[in-house]
């Protein structure tokens, strides 16, 4: 497939996730489009450098945002794979320098993939006073045979803010492993949110970890998973309070529907400083009866009510 057609195919799929394709043509918007192990689109803007390196089986991108720079539009990162079989590895090394501010909109699109493994590793450093938001949305084929492994290692330095969301709610999952490892220094704020809808025989493993290493650091790890049919879901959320007046909350909500669904959640909270504060909440089960009956009392059937509630949860 030539680059033009590849570009069109990937962008067209990304549009299904709500992306405005014109963003990839807009010179004011930083963007990178990866297909397999090739970069088929790249736009740098002042204050931000995206430097790709081709790997044998994927692409590494070093991303740097200059200090005191506010990137006006979200940086678009689109990773695609258009073949049915194969392996793709992407490595993103992101450094947001002091007091810079940036938001990323990332799409991973694998519309044809059947026997396919995608491994993504993000190494993130948010320097003092910087703010970074990374929203990652996936679009897979309906084969349900994709293996996706995504690992994020993020360090947020003093006074920095980092938000990471991972969404895989619109298509089959396949086999998913999400690992997010967040270290927060003094006065840093970090938020990890994962939302996944697993159906048929999908398998989901999510592990969100927060290390509160700096005084007054604040963290939130939140996971919402809907497990349908005979899917298997395992969520392990961890928080470690190592510094005074640091706080973290971990939350896991798993909605199940299907007699063969297997869902588990495990929270781990550990404090090594007695002035730290950690809390957690977790729930597993069918959609709350009160929520269902509230909507049914307005005329929706149980199926319609369930669908509406789940849609909201995964938004």
């Amino acid at each position: 497939m030539d680059v033009k057609r590849e570009f069109e195919a990937i962008v067209k799929t990304a549009e299904k996730l709500g992306t405005d394709a014109s963003n990839f043509m807009d010179k004011r918007i930083a963007s990178i489009i990866i297909s397999g192990n090739r970069v088929i689109g790249l736009n740098n803007i002042p204050g931000l450098k995206l430097v790709p390196t081709t790997l044998e089986d994927g692409v590494q991108v070093d991303m740097e945002i200059e200090q005191n720079t506010q990137i006006p539009f979200p940086v678009h990162v689109c990773t695609g794979y258009l073949e049915k079989k194969g392996y793709q590895r992407v490595i993103f090394n992101i450094r947001v320098k002091r007091n810079a501010k940036v938001k990323f909109t990332a799409h991973c699109v694998f519309p044809q993939a059947e026997e396919f493994t995608h491994e993504a590793t993000s190494n993130v450093i948010v320097e003092d006073g910087a703010v970074m938001e990374y929203n990652d949305e996936h679009y897979h084929s309906d084969a349900g045979t994709i293996i996706l492994k995504t690992t994020t290692n993020a360090v947020v330095e003093n006074g920095g803010v980092y938000r990471n969301t991972f969404h895989l709610t619109k298509t089959r999952v396949g086999k998913l492993e999400v690992k997010m490892n967040l270290t927060l220094k003094e006065n840093a704020v970090g938020e990890l949110v994962s939302k996944v809808k697993a159906s048929k025989n999908d398998e989901v493993d999510i592990n969100e970890i927060i290390h509160l290493n700096g005084e007054k650091a604040r963290g939130l790890a939140k996971t919402i998973v809907v497990g349908l049919d005979e899917s298997k879901v395992n969520v392990l959320n961890e928080a470690y309070g190592n510094a005074p007046y640091s706080r973290a909350h971990i939350s896991c909500e798993e909605i199940t529907k299907g007699e063969k669904v297997i869902v588990a959640t495990t929270p781990i909270l550990k404090i090594t400083n007695d002035l730290a504060e950690l809390t957690h909440e977790a729930s597993i089960g069918r959609v709350s009866e009160k929520q269902l009956e509230t909507l049914m009392a307005k005329g929706l059937t149980e199926e319609e009510a369930t669908e509406l509630i789940i849609k909201g949860l995964l938004m």
Binding site: Q291, E293, T294, A297, L300, T301, E302, E304, G312
Partner: protein
Amino acid sequence: MLELVDVSYKTNEKEILSDVSMKFLPGYKYAVIGTNGAGKSTIGYVIMGLSSYKPYKGKILLNGKDITDLPVTDRAKLGITLMWQEPARFEGMTIENYLTLGGKLSVQKSEVAEAMEFVGLNPNLYLKRFVDKTLSGGERKRVELASIILLKPKYAILDEPDSGIDLMSLSIINDVVNYIAQYGGTPIIITHREEMAYSTDYGYLICAGKVLMHGKTKDVLNAFRNTCETCAHPNIPETNELRK
């Protein structure tokens, strides 16, 4: 007409409602009055047909048709709805989506906006907000009232609509109740507060799961004030003055 005929309900072998008979006529406003624990909310849940509230005896009739075994959705489609004392919260669901039932309720955007304004919520500020815990108790109830306006039910059961809200919201509730009656619907207010029941036409006084009396709201409220509010043994019928 919505009618309860000798309805009895128990849970864990405890009798919650005993031979309750009530009639609600179209276009009139009703109050179901009683102290806390009298069984008022249970009456609402039984009428709505909630899954854990199936009567073991008696019938619920709607225009003469037995609806006792109908599921919640079917009753709603026949024009019955319920506003819970503490309405459920929905993470990620916008107020707009909630009010339009995800687009399944056929209403115009302008009607949604009007309903919001009716209950004192600015649609521009609220429609994109979520029906979650970021709303205060009062805001959540106003959203529920807006929902009732849009649904235009024939019978709207409002369970303690005034609990946990400010004075301003109280007048909004009255406006909604009057609105329902104006279009020919029947608001049924479940309450233990006199000021909430005042504006209704007829009342039922409930004690220990039984109807103690019914009639014009004014008379029922008198009985409630003089007997139930001063009763040293609320919801113990044997010691209740009216029962004697």
